[in-house]
């Protein structure tokens, strides 16, 4: 078996293969539904309905997509520079901790002032959490995949300690949770009466901002050059280490916004189950979007839709909700494979 590059892939390849990947995903999901003893069409229909079948469902999907847009952007920004940030989960919790610290009466400010201050402080916390691993990478050559991944566990244990100790809610009846945020520190809903909060708008704005940074600014140019060919970048005089650090600060800050938005917009306090792995899902979201920041919004909504839809389908059809995880995994694998095959031809023998 041999791989040959295709210099100019045809339109059929460029659109047909990803479509085929999607079809394969649906096919596998159908098979699984059959295996669970349900009608595959009904199952898929229920997932679709649960994800976008009503205003309520759609808003729920967008709500669920919000933290994934942030973590997806964090991953997309970092991966663009070939900085493998697997630690968006840790940075998310960093942002959440700061949100609780500053949002429970520490700063007597009006809401309009308080929220931006908290958001910026949260970003700073996330940035600092990633600063350690990236400095170890640029100065000592320590693999950031390992350090950022391990930081997730350190951070979770730290949050656990905080929730059992200094940050424990005295009124929490012994549950490991933080006190609730003040009203001024809560992100309001975009439309009164509907669950969607301003965190979603912030996520969209962040995606646009990242896109502008990548395509229009000097830093974005540097990040792309470093990611595509660090050796050529260094030769041309681009300070590769410094660009890596700037990328890390941006990436960590974006991931922290996920924590801020979840605590201030949705939950209102910090618990250990604040994130069901949004940091890791961010990797899937970013990969599906081919690291394109605007694509991240779409892929995050898609991923969120699958999860929300599967939840609701599971209640109605009795197919386990794990089908969502399998769907996600198949979608990612087939899509990545399809995209590779768009530019590569496989020759047997």
């Amino acid at each position: 078996m041999r791989l040959e590059p295709i210099p100019n892939p045809s339109a059929l390849r460029r659109f047909g293969l990803p479509t085929g990947a999607l079809a394969l995903t649906v096919l596998i999901a159908s098979a699984l539904a059959l295996l669970a003893g349900a009608n595959p069409f009904a199952t898929l229909g229920l997932i679709l309905k649960g994800a976008a079948g009503s205003k309520f469902a759609l808003l729920e999907t967008l709500n669920r997509a919000t933290p994934m847009i942030f973590t997806g952007l964090a991953v997309a920004v970092a991966f663009r520079a070939k900085l493998w940030n697997i630690g968006a989960e840790a940075q998310l919790y960093g942002g959440a901790i700061v949100t609780v610290l500053l949002g429970t009466g520490a700063l007597p400010l009006p809401s309009l002032l308080l929220l931006p201050v908290i958001a910026l402080a949260a970003m700073l916390a996330g940035a600092l959490i990633l600063l350690g691993p990236v400095l170890m990478k640029t100065r000592l050559g320590v693999d950031e995949v390992v350090t950022t991944l391990l930081f997730n566990f350190i951070m979770l244990l730290f949050v656990s300690y905080l929730l059992e100790g200094p940050m424990k809610d005295p009124m929490g009846m012994g549950w490991p949770k933080s006190p609730a945020l003040d009203k001024a520190a809560r992100l309001p809903r975009i439309v009164e009466g509907l669950r969607l909060h301003w965190g979603f708008a912030l996520a969209i704005l962040s995606a646009i901002a990242v896109w502008v940074i990548q395509t229009r600014t000097t830093l974005g140019y540097e990040i792309r050059a470093v990611g595509l060919n660090a050796e050529a970048a260094r030769f041309a005089g681009i300070p590769v280490g410094r660009v890596m650090v700037k990328t890390a600060l941006l990436s960590g800050g974006l991931a922290a916004l996920a924590g801020f938005s979840e605590v201030a917009g949705l939950k209102g306090n910090l618990t250990l189950d604040l994130s069901p792995g949004f940091g890791y899902t961010g990797i899937i979201v970013a990969m599906l979007a081919l690291l394109n920041p605007l694509g991240v919004v779409i892929s995050a909504i898609f991923v969120a839709g699958v999860f929300v839809g599967a939840d609701s389908m599971s209640r109605a059809a009795g197919v386990p909700t794990y089908i969502a995880d399998i769907l996600m995994a198949t979608a990612l694998l087939t899509m990545v494979l399809a995209l590779k095959l768009t530019t590569t031809r496989v020759r047997w023998r």
């Binding site: 060919n229 970048a233 300070p239």
Partner: protein, 514 residues
Amino acid sequence: MAGREGAEVVLRLDGITKRFGPLVANDAISFDLKKGEVIALLGENGAGKTTLMNILFGHYTADAGSVEVFGQTLPPGHPRAALAAGVGMVHQHFTLADNMTVLENILLGTGSLLSARLNARAAKAKVQKLSADFGLSVHPDAKVGSLSVGERQRVEILKALYRDARILILDEPTAVLTPQETTALFETLRKAVALGLSIIFISHKLNEVMAISSRVLVLRHGRLVGEVATAETDRHRLAEMMVGAEITAPKLADRAPGAALMTLTGIRTAPRGNAPGLSGIDLTLRAGQIIGLAGVSGNGQSALADLIGGLEMPTGGTMVLHPEHSGDWSPRAALASGVARIPEDRHKTGTVADFTLTENAVLEAYENAPYSRKGWMDWSAAEGFAKKIIETYDVRCPGPEAAIRLLSGGNMQKLILGRALEAGPQIILANQPVRGLDIGAVTFVHNRLIAARDAGAAILLISEDLDEVMALSDLIHVIYEGHLSPAFPRGEKTPAELGVWMAGQGFEGGADAA
């Protein structure tokens, strides 16, 4: 060696065609190779030589056509079948394991290691006999890592011979050799031919083709455009066949050198891996002068290039720029001081393959106005610059928004050259500026460098191609194990004399290491 009409045909290529997308890399190529002859496969880069040999050896599958060895048609896509039929290939980049001995490398892949060990004595005897028969002196028990480049190539040839190859394919075998080593290689090839082997010799060095081959096949744009007996042609006609147009050698008018622009005194750098660092180099770059640096690769050229290019700091000695530079020495400092750099590897260091021409054009200047202001890129200014380079330097491309990886090596190099020269440099570091380029592009790059010299730039030309160094340089230094020879004025030394220096003789304490 002419007049082999009656000789047995050992290899026959019939109508080989290979397409990569819209590109026809090989277009219905047919030829015969006869027993005991050396044919040279000549062509510019991208003419299809390597593709053709990869098809012959089974690395690629042809879209049409067949390969016949000793009357048997080879199944396409099976290197093992080619090996078994007696075809041996010596690649330009060696495929040897450094930590194993010569004998182990030769035996690698010939059978299970266990049985190979049992037969080690017989194998060693066979290798020694081959060494003697073909004049390939190399100790079978030496570790490959300790061998010189010339010796490693001998191991590669022994590898093929050990597998009873009757047809040898040599891909640019002299690119890494000193003139003396090249002579030795040619001796070996002549012995091989005398023993009835047949050889395909791939090269773009015309004098070598003239020296070794009995027949020359010329490829151009994937097509076989000429087939001549070597005795009936000359270098000039071969060059014309290669490029399809008349070519002229670069002309260097006499010119008095100007002021010193960079002075290196006693410069030392740290060694890197197997390659030595610089050990006390004195070098002065003067305005309006081309200094050529000859030498076998891996003797400190990269260290010197990186030093001047701002990628490396010296560990000793002084480096003075005129006008003086203060502060850290870095690529940016080098660029700001008027040092333009043409890097050795245009794919790895010179360009970002997936960037557009525009993005690559501003790679070194992106931070400066007008390309960026206050952190924002001005892409229309950048595109304007790219268009200017494309026009002025005749870069053939689909447009400034095309990815640079779509360009041929020559056009890529023209963009790099344009990027470097448009900055109006005082000093130009040209590291292997024409390696792998076709003759048209070579002439273009050389003429531009000469024009820059005539306009008053100081140029350091680093090249492994002695002909290039001798044709272009006002002064020639030879570099060997991090030491620099005295400066030889243009025309003072013959290639053979320089070759002696390249092998390390003449240097203080260096003769023994040759």
